[in-house]
């Protein structure tokens, strides 16, 4: 016994009559949707990754050596190993700026495997435990004491890299042996890939001469401003007072990346519009041809009692079937692409954030709507045209 004869079986059979044409349309929609899903995933991941990272830093203002803003972002957002230095004297000067509540500073060293150290290239953060408010929130409960000389903490990601796990191991950093004594919680910033030591170790490190750090140098100062004050204004004040430094207010962190991202975004949008237009046009062309070929059949259906709405319904079923198959393939394709290519784009590789299932779901949903929307938009005019034909005229049309 064969399946019941319904509108959907009618639509399916119509599509099977010209399989090549159906497949072409499905491929076009799949490409459209996968491009869309990929770009949305990319933009979404980078932008929310940056926002998350800057929110978690816990400082209102960052002060870095003049011209080093980009380097600082590289370290903090992407954990690219960069070193940049300024004179420690800046700390006292900053304290004199009105509105500053508290300050702490860090010094960044980059490791190079084989030359100085036995860990892969990463950033070693030397921080001041007395003033620190950046690292402290991420110290796991277990680690209830101060770091001693010769001890290091590892970021949650580096924990995998150097395979310490829960076991204490020794590593050579800049010619000195350090014992890895604990792991930081995941911060969602570039710091997850770093190693952390007390800045009291810097003297020993400089003595071994395996780094270009000079005495009295630091990389970055983090400042909190007093409640109710505008970080932007104070950051401006700092830049006005000291030419040797640049500042970033918290919201500025990642700005250069976000600006680049905006350009990428425009390229994506432009590409998407183009692909949408092309797929819409293809759908239009295919359905115009279909409508023409089937004028007679539509006339017959009308003659035996099909309403205009029935005709539209059958055609829309076909459109939706094609659009949905294409969209679903596209969603999987685009998601797979974004996962695979994430390893290729350094900006994504190093960003801490991975898209959650919910977010992927929303992006997939958007892809589905756009895929079907384009199909419907493209097929609309041919379908509306054919439903308006007088039955007998449609039948006689040949």
């Amino acid at each position: 016994m064969k399946a019941e004869f319904t509108f959907s079986s009618l639509a399916l059979r119509n599509l099977k009559r010209k399989p090549l044409r159906s497949v072409i349309l499905i491929i076009a929609i799949a490409l459209l949707v996968s491009a869309l899903v990929f770009s949305l995933s990319f933009v979404r991941r980078v932008s929310s990754g940056i926002r998350l990272a800057s929110e978690r830093l816990g400082a209102d203002i960052l002060v870095v050596p003049a011209g080093s803003r980009g380097f600082a972002e590289d370290v903090l957002l992407e954990n690219k190993a960069k070193s940049f230095y300024m004179d420690k004297g800046i700390i006292e000067k900053l304290k004199a700026i009105p509105g500053i509540d508290s300050l702490t500073y860090q010094t960044y060293l980059t490791t190079m495997q084989g030359l100085c150290c036995d860990v892969p290239e990463t950033v070693v953060v030397a921080f001041n435990q007395d003033t620190d408010f950046i690292i402290k929130p991420w110290l796991t409960e277990k680690f209830g004491r101060k770091l001693q000389k010769g001890e290091a903490l590892v970021g949650s990601e580096s924990a995998f890299n150097i395979r310490v796990g829960l076991v204490e191991v020794d590593s050579v950093l800049f010619g000195n042996i350090f014992r890895m004594v604990g792991i930081l919680d995941k911060t969602g910033t570039g710091l997850d890939n770093a190693l952390f030591i007390d800045d009291g170790n810097l003297e020993d490190i400089m003595r071994k001469g395996k780094t270009d750090l000079k005495p009295g140098q630091i990389s970055i100062v983090f400042a909190k401003v007093k409640k109710g004050l505008d970080p932007y204004k104070i950051a401006g004040d700092i830049e006005d007072s000291f030419v040797e430094v640049d500042t970033m207010a918290r919201k500025d962190i990642g700005k250069s990346i976000i600006t680049t991202l905006r350009d990428i975004n425009y390229i994506f949008i432009f590409t998407m519009l183009l692909i949408c237009f092309l797929s819409g046009f293809l759908t239009w062309a295919i359905f115009s041809a279909i409508a023409n070929e089937r004028a007679r059949e539509v006339g017959i259906m009308r003659a035996v009692g099909a309403k205009e709405s029935h005709i539209v319904f059958v055609f829309f079923l076909e459109v939706i079937i094609l659009g949905s198959i294409g969209s679903i393939i596209g969603i999987f394709g685009g998601t797979a692409l974004s996962i695979v290519l994430a390893k290729t784009f350094s900006i994504m590789k190093n960003l801490p954030l991975h898209l959650g299932v919910a977010e992927r779901f929303i992006i997939g949903g958007a892809g589905f709507l756009v895929g079907n929307g384009i199909c419907i938009a493209g097929a609309l005019s041919p379908i509306l045209k054919i439903k308006k034909m007088e039955p007998l005229m449609a039948i006689k049309k040949e």
Partner: protein, 225 residues
């Protein structure tokens, strides 16, 4: 007798190039419920056009068609579609099957567009296909049927949902004499037993003679023969 179809002042003009062809010219007549009427006339005299307007598959230029008192020319698309679906069984002069449906499905096609989904009456379909002489072709697609066999499927389709009126445009045109006779007997039977009104166009004067009443079309004009 109850008047079922009342045509008055019906005119249909076609604009072809820069001249107008009047295919149906101010035609008026009435048909009672249960009548068995034949329409004859030369080719091009306007028979198909007239029948199509009565069947609601073409709009007239002017005039009206009252079906059981209602002017079908004033119906909106939905009502007109329901009229075609429920009241009329139309048999076209030319092949009118959907190629992607089997014979059986073609017969059930009008059921797809009905509000009451009684489409699934397969026994009836098979019975009808048997009556029109192709009981063994239920699952066959139109492309595998001869012209005459396709026509029989279309006849079964028109009869499937018990219409009030059957409009048949040369229904036995390409059938052999024997089948032609069978079909006419079937029509007569349905007409007698169920009071279905028949209006059929034919070139065959012998067939026309089987009707109680014959109308003759001449260049768009109609008169009783």
């Amino acid at each position: 007798m109850v008047t079922q179809i009342e045509v008055s002042g019906l005119t249909k003009e076609f604009a072809v190039a820069d001249q107008t062809i009047t295919a149906v010219d101010r035609v008026s007549f009435a048909i009672d419920k249960g009548e068995f009427v034949s329409v004859v006339g030369h080719s091009g005299s306007g028979k198909t056009t007239l029948l199509s307007i009565i069947g609601g598959i073409m709009k007239p230029t002017s005039g009206q068609v009252l079906f059981e008192g209602q002017d079908i020319c004033a119906f909106d698309d939905d009502r007109l579609s329901e009229y075609r679906n429920e009241k009329i069984g139309f048999m076209f002069q030319f092949a009118s099957l959907l190629p992607m449906l089997t014979a059986e499905e073609n017969v059930m096609l009008p059921g797809l567009f009905r509000k009451s989904k009684s489409a699934g009456d397969q026994t009836k379909v098979r019975e009808l296909l048997h009556v029109v002489g192709i009981g063994d072709k239920c699952d066959v697609y139109p492309s595998q049927l001869s012209g005459g066999q396709q026509r029989r499927v279309a006849i079964a389709r028109a009869l499937m949902y018990d219409p009030r009126v059957i409009l048949a445009d040369e229904p036995t045109g390409d059938l052999d004499e024997e089948t032609e006779n069978d079909i006419m007997q079937l029509f007569k039977g349905l007409n007698r037993e169920r009071q279905i009104t028949f209006i059929f166009i034919t070139h065959n004067l012998e067939l026309a003679g089987m009707a109680q009443r014959t109308l003759r079309m001449t260049r768009g004009n109609l008169r009783e023969a």
